[in-house]
Structure formats: C-alpha cells, structure tokens
C-alpha cells in the first residue's frame, strides 16, 4: 500500500496516473462510498482510493468518539493490505492535507480535520511508500 498526500489541487492524481498504467478509482468526489472498493477493483489493476475527508464525515454521526472512528479506518487499511497481498496488485491511498490552515469554527469540521490527520499517520505507518505532493512536484517521505 502506498500513500500520496498533499494539499487541494496540488497534482496528486497526476502523480498516481504517471506511476500506474491501469487504475480502478474509488473516489468520494465521484460519489463512491469507501466500501465500493470490493466491487470496483478490477482484476489486474491498481486500486486508488480518494476522498477520505468525505468518508470520515458520515462516521461522525455514528460515533462521538474520534478514536473509535480512527480504529475503524485503521482496520480498513489492514484489510486492504491483506487483499493487496492476496491479489498481488497495488493499492494507492490519496489523502488531502487539510491540517495546516486555521482551526475551523465548526465542531464537525474540527473533528474531520483531526481524524483526517490521524488516519493519515496510520496510513503512513502501514504504507511501504509515502509521497508528499506540492504544486505538481512530489517528494518521497518514506
């Protein structure tokens, strides 16, 4: 599993596309739910998952506890890694860096921002490669 992280419109998709020939995209921006990966991942392709901050949003209602939500995502990453090994194909997670601006006024936005930061750390820990994207350029962090 690889992680590509960077700010909004920084060129994250472009970098993923340059690296993998054929990808199966599971994107919150195209209306996908995160669990769609099971049905969307085509044989012999790289699975790309993006829009994590949007997938975090519905879990806020399910649990008051940020840590429980974090654990659920971590479990998902582990499932993904197991499946990746079974299939012998790659998985790339694209995450939006949203932690550097001003602290949001809305409580839910603060929760999303915190959880997004934590799952980013968890994903980075589990990933074999981590890249940060900045204005169309990328730098390998791990």
């Amino acid at each position: 599993m690889q992680l590509v992280i960077g700010g909004a419109f920084s060129g994250k998709r472009k970098i993923v596309r340059e690296r993998s020939e054929t990808c199966s995209w599971v994107s919150a921006y195209n209306g996908n739910m995160v669990e769609d990966w099971r049905t969307q991942w085509l044989e012999g392709t790289t699975l790309v998952l993006e829009g994590w901050e949007q997938w975090i949003a519905p879990s806020l209602k399910k649990s008051e506890n940020n840590d429980d939500i974090r654990k659920e995502f971590k479990a998902l990453f582990q499932t993904l890694i197991e499946e990746e090994e079974k299939r012998n194909n790659k998985i790339v997670l694209i995450m939006l860096d949203i932690g550097k601006g001003i602290v949001p006024v809305e409580k839910d936005e603060r929760r999303i921002r915190d959880i997004a930061g934590w799952i980013g750390q968890d994903a980075a820990q589990l990933a074999v490669q981590v890249d940060y994207v900045w204005n169309g350029l990328s730098r390998r962090l791990k």
């Binding site: 860096d97 601006g101 999303i112 204005n135 169309g136």
Partner: protein
C-alpha cells in the same frame, strides 16, 4: 532564469526572495548592465496597507526600482532587459486583483502566465515569482474561494514546469524542489 518561491504566511518567503534577488543582481552586475526591479502587486487600499508598503520599501533600500502594478505585469516585463532581476511579490494578490476586479477566466489567466514566462525566456532576464500555499486548510464551501484556490494551483504548476529554481520556504528555511545547483 525563472524562479518560483512559495510558503505559508510569514514563512520568510519574501525575505528569502529579496536576498536571492539581490545576490543574483550582484553576481550579474559585475559583467552586465542589470537593474533590480520590485513589482509590488498590492494596492494602497487603506492606511494600514500604506504603512506596510512604506516599511517594506524602507527595508529594501534604494538599490531597488519599485514598480507598483496591481494588474498588468506583462506591460512592465515588456520593458525589462537582459540580465535584469525582477521580483514579483506576490502572485496571490495579483490573482485576486485580476480574478475579482477584472473577472479573468482560467483560460485568460493561463495565457497571461504563459506570456510572462515567454517574455522571461525571450528577453533573458531573471524573473522571480513569490506566492503563497493556501491549499492546505480544511476544504472551503465558498465557490469563489474554491475557484480561486483551483486557479492559483493551476498557475503555480504552469510556472513550476518552466522554472529553473523552485523553493518552498518554511520558518525562513528554504527547501529546494528544483534546481538547487544554480544558487
């Protein structure tokens, strides 16, 4: 040479850009005629801005030729010559001027940026562009901010593709994304 410098607010990017421009100017002026320009894009909108501008000008001293131009950068660059060093500070303010006051479309923006970069190549002056990374906060729900952020990222990437040197400044410390060998 084209240089792109970016970073967060108060990251020291302007200071770094000014020092780099000065040293580049000092390097070339021994062998060629070179003028050092500072293109200020901010408008004197209120007393606070007037004061900020005054302090900036005082800090820079009289080596610099300051040109105030909120909109038409192309016109200024058209009059620059080989080996001049031109510092444009900052792109974000210019972008908000032309997007919100002149209603530039993304297509028009990219064309203007293309022209500025082409002028630098043709006339062989040194163009340094300073900008700000505004895309790392929580996603905005305002359309105008969203479009602004998208446009800024697009033009950053167009500039970087053509830049010889690309620097990110954090806490006053430069990280070279491209072309460290030149400096």
């Amino acid at each position: 040479m084209i240089l792109f410098i970016s970073g967060g607010a108060r990251s020291g990017k302007s200071y770094f850009a000014e020092q780099t421009a000065l040293s580049l100017h000092n390097k070339v002026k021994g062998r060629e005629r070179s003028l050092l320009y500072y293109i200020a894009t901010a408008k004197k909108s209120d007393d606070e801005m007037v004061e900020r501008i005054r302090i900036h000008q005082q800090d820079r001293g009289d080596v610099w030729k300051t040109v105030e131009e909120p909109f038409d950068i192309e016109r200024i660059l058209a009059n620059c010559n080989k080996e001049d060093v031109i510092l444009l500070d900052c792109l974000t303010i210019w972008l908000s001027n032309v997007m919100f006051e002149l209603n530039y479309s993304l297509e028009k923006l990219e064309k203007v940026i293309f022209n500025l970069l082409s002028l630098a190549r043709e006339k062989q002056f040194h163009l340094m562009i300073v900008s700000n990374d505004v895309n790392v906060g929580i996603p905005t729900s305002y359309d105008s901010v969203f479009t602004y952020m998208y446009s800024l990222q697009r033009i950053h990437q167009r500039i970087i593709e053509q830049s010889d040197i690309v620097v990110e400044v954090q806490a006053g410390i430069p990280t070279y994304w491209k072309g460290a060998k030149w400096l």
